[in-house]
């Protein structure tokens, strides 16, 4: 079951195309990473999902239904540029946002009580927002985003401005809410966040989706069959099935060698190495999201078909 389906969505601004027939699917219960360099079209896409603007072409389905105004009550959105009314008290502000999202006053108060205790911000209730530190304000804004228990929560760069302790707190909340059934969309260019939290990603570059799918599968797709071997220093003479890419000396008369397997398996490699050296370890060099991101973006830049402007 898909929480959100984007089908051939395009958006044209005066002089540039922000989205060029973008299609992607966000499975229910997933944590979906929306990646891409600055200006790729992430924010435009999010604004279409949150119904701040409309798409010129294409369709957006939320739980299989065509997007309509009633859906905004079932979504939560934390924009990258955070903003609260500076002169308003924290409690009032949270109530206001909750009621904008369709909660009754009593309902909102009830839910707020829980969050205020969890985030230990009880004594902020009557403070004005301008008296809070930036991190505190972010906490308040996070509560405002998720208070109405939305099915789909969209977070634009959620960890910027948080210290490590608060970032962990938010991360734990995201995991908890995800377990309780909320689907998340992250827009970010922080790859460590993606590795830790996301199970699906879409990579947008120059208004187009260049990569989409499950993180595991994508990583598989980008595997290069390269292994790092730690072994005693010796002269390596490998058959044509293997390519030694580089070898660097390491502590204790050891060497670290990167070997690409063209044919065969790691076992075959071991068989070939064992007679000539002592092997301490062998592990696959798995591309991290950072590499994949850079590779995909660069490939996209150099492929002529990708140049749309």
């Amino acid at each position: 079951m898909q929480s959100l389906q984007i089908i051939n969505v395009s958006k044209q601004y005066a002089h540039h195309k922000a989205l060029d027939s973008v299609s992607l699917a966000v499975p229910k219960g997933s944590v979906y990473g929306l990646l891409g360099p600055n200006g790729a079209g992430k924010t435009s896409l999010i604004r279409i999902i949150t119904q701040i603007t409309g798409a010129d072409e294409g369709e957006v389905l939320f739980n299989g239904e065509k997007l309509n105004p009633s859906h905004i009550y079932r979504m939560g959105y934390l924009p990258e540029e955070r903003g609260l009314y500076k002169k308003m008290e924290v409690g009032e502000q949270l109530l206001f946002f909750a009621r904008l999202k369709g909660l009754s006053r009593a309902d909102a108060m009830h839910k707020l009580k829980d969050w205020v205790e969890r985030f230990e911000i009880k004594n902020w209730w009557t403070k004005k927002v301008e008296e809070l530190s930036k991190g505190m304000q972010q906490k308040v804004q996070f509560i405002a985003t998720v208070l109405h228990q939305p099915e789909l929560i969209i977070l634009d760069e959620p960890f910027t401005g948080f210290d490590p302790i608060n970032a962990n707190l938010i991360r734990d909340e995201i995991i908890r809410l995800n377990k309780e059934g909320s689907t998340f969309i992250f827009s970010t260019h922080r790859m460590e966040t993606v590795e830790q939290l996301c199970d699906h990603i879409a990579l947008i570059n120059k208004s187009k989706v260049v990569l989409e799918g499950e993180v595991k599968q994508i990583k598989n797709q980008f595997r290069t069959q390269t292994y790092e071997v730690e072994h005693s220093i010796c002269k390596l003479q490998l058959s044509s099935s293997f390519v030694l890419q580089k070898s660097t000396p390491a502590d204790g008369n050891m060497a670290l060698s990167e070997i690409k397997i063209l044919h065969g398996t790691p076992n075959d490699l071991l068989k070939e190495l064992m007679p000539v050296s002592h092997i301490h370890s062998l592990k696959e060099i798995v591309p991290d999201m950072n590499d994949i991101f850079i590779q995909a973006v660069n490939k996209n830049v150099t492929t002529p078909s990708a140049v749309t402007l």
């Binding site: 005066a14 604004r47 949150t50 119904q51 701040i52 603007t53 409309g54 010129d56 105004p69 905004i72 979504m75 959105y77 934390l78 924009p79 540029e81 955070r82 903003g83 609260l84 009314y85 500076k86 002169k87 308003m88 206001f96 946002f97 009621r99 904008l100 999202k101 804004q141 405002a144 985003t145």
Partner: protein, 440 residues
């Protein structure tokens, strides 16, 4: 619709609770009353703005000696000395000017000179000219054997003209003075509130835009709802403030009026005693004029234009706030809003007052940009029972206003929804025009 109420409620509460609102609401009427009291006090008590001016008169003709009339502001010292000596005194002593009258001046009426160390004012010159004229004409009258008493009697002639309107119910006394005053007070209030609260709308929109709150909010409500909620919320603040002012001035004014009416009845008694007292006549004149004014019409129209004028201009102020990033950029877009308002206020004091039923006044009271002020000034002149001869103008003006609100609100909504999400770009009028026809 619920959302509009929610947003309006937030706007209203957050503004009403501010200290500045409470202070302004309590002190506002006092400040305004004090301001006008000061102006009236200064213009009535001229001594404060005018010092005594002493003028040396060198009269070579000998005709004018001791005959120029003095008052609290002008004193004449007649001296028999050469002009140069007098001019020296001008520099050293506390004299304002030297009036030099040559020997033949009384006959030729030429050669009078006023020599002063500083530039003399138009008022100084006309006073002295007037007094010189008086002396010369008195001499001429007596030369022709006309009695001084007769001259004074002729000079004191004063005709009293009563303006009367011919209506279906018969003749009615006119009410020019009271109508003019009432219209102006209404117009000043409308003008003030449009400006004060219009700018508040603009600032509020800009605050939301620059704080980036707007993105969170319009993921929950439509931009149009946000804009209307803001305008409605601030309108409630304006109405509340006005209401408090009315109540305050009735309570405070009650005391003053009580004291005044005591004085008035005393004056009326005195007037009766003196049989021809102008003051008592004036008081009864004002009373009878006031009774001519159609209170319900004037009050109703004031409320109508107070609210609609605010809504008409408020939408435009909201659009400006959405189009710019900072207060300094607002100037270029504020101009087309402020010019019609200021123009209306200026015309109201000149063309409209001198000819309230002229064609220019009639047209200006149809155009929504100027009608809140111009029509307000004109309404008190429509006295007596409802009459279609002027009634059609009121209906037409109201219809134009409502239509105007629809147009400006539609335009503002278009500009608003594009503008609030656009940062860091200098906006031109051409661009604003394009925004009107963007697809959302």
């Amino acid at each position: 619709m619920n959302k509009i109420f929610l947003i309006a409620g937030r706007e209203f509460l957050s503004r009403v609770r501010k200290k500045s609102f409470i202070v302004m609401t309590l002190l506002g009427p006092l400040l305004i009353a004090g301001f006008y009291a000061l102006i009236i006090y200064l213009s009535v008590n001229e001594q404060i703005s005018n010092d005594l001016k002493r003028i040396i008169v060198i009269d070579e003709s000998g005709v004018f000696k001791d005959k120029l009339k003095e008052n609290d502001f002008y004193k004449f010292d007649y001296k028999n000395e050469p002009l140069d000596a007098a001019r020296l005194q001008l520099r050293n002593e506390d004299y304002f000017a030297v009036l030099h009258i040559p020997q033949t001046a009384a006959d030729s009426l030429k050669g009078f000179k006023l020599i002063a160390a500083t530039q003399t004012s138009w008022k100084d010159e006309s006073y002295i000219e007037d007094k010189l004229n008086k002396v010369v004409s008195d001499i001429k009258f007596s030369q022709h054997g006309i009695d001084q008493k007769l001259i004074d009697e002729i000079n004191n002639t004063s005709v009293s003209l009563e303006s009367v309107r011919d209506t279906k119910e018969g003749l009615e006394k006119g009410s020019t003075a009271i109508s003019t005053g009432l219209g102006f007070v209404g117009a000043i209030f409308i003008y003030m509130f449009i400006f004060i609260y219009g700018v508040q709308i603009m600032r509020g929109v800009m605050e939301e835009k620059t704080n980036r709150i707007v993105e969170v909010i319009i993921s929950s409500v439509k931009p149009f709802e946000l804009m209307m909620g803001k305008i409605a919320g601030i309108a409630m603040v304006a109405l509340l403030q006005f209401l408090i002012w009315v109540v305050l001035s009735t309570v405070l004014g009650g005391g003053v009026t009580g004291a005044l009416s005591d004085k008035m009845s005393m004056m009326q008694d005195a007037g009766a005693a003196m049989s021809q007292s102008g003051k008592a006549a004036l008081v009864s004149d004002i009373m009878s004029q006031a009774s001519q004014i159609n209170v319900w019409l004037v009050g109703g129209m004031f409320l109508f234009f107070f609210i609609t004028g605010y809504l008409f201009y408020g939408a435009l102020f909201a659009a400006v706030g959405a189009a710019v990033d900072s207060e300094t950029d607002t100037q270029q877009f504020m101009l087309p809003i402020t010019i019609p308002l200021i123009l209306a206020f200026f015309l109201a004091q000149t063309v409209v007052v001198s000819n309230p039923n002229g064609s220019l006044a009639t047209w200006l009271s149809m155009v929504p940009f100027t009608s809140p002020i111009i029509m307000m000034v004109r309404v008190p002149f429509f006295t007596g029972a409802w009459d279609w001869s002027w009634g059609w103008q009121i209906i037409a003006s109201m219809c134009c206003m409502l239509l105007g609100i629809l147009v400006t609100t539609w335009m503002a909504g278009r500009i608003y929804r594009t503008g609030i999400l656009l940062y860091g770009k200098k906006i031109t009028y051409k661009e604003l025009g394009k925004w009107l026809f963007y697809k959302a």
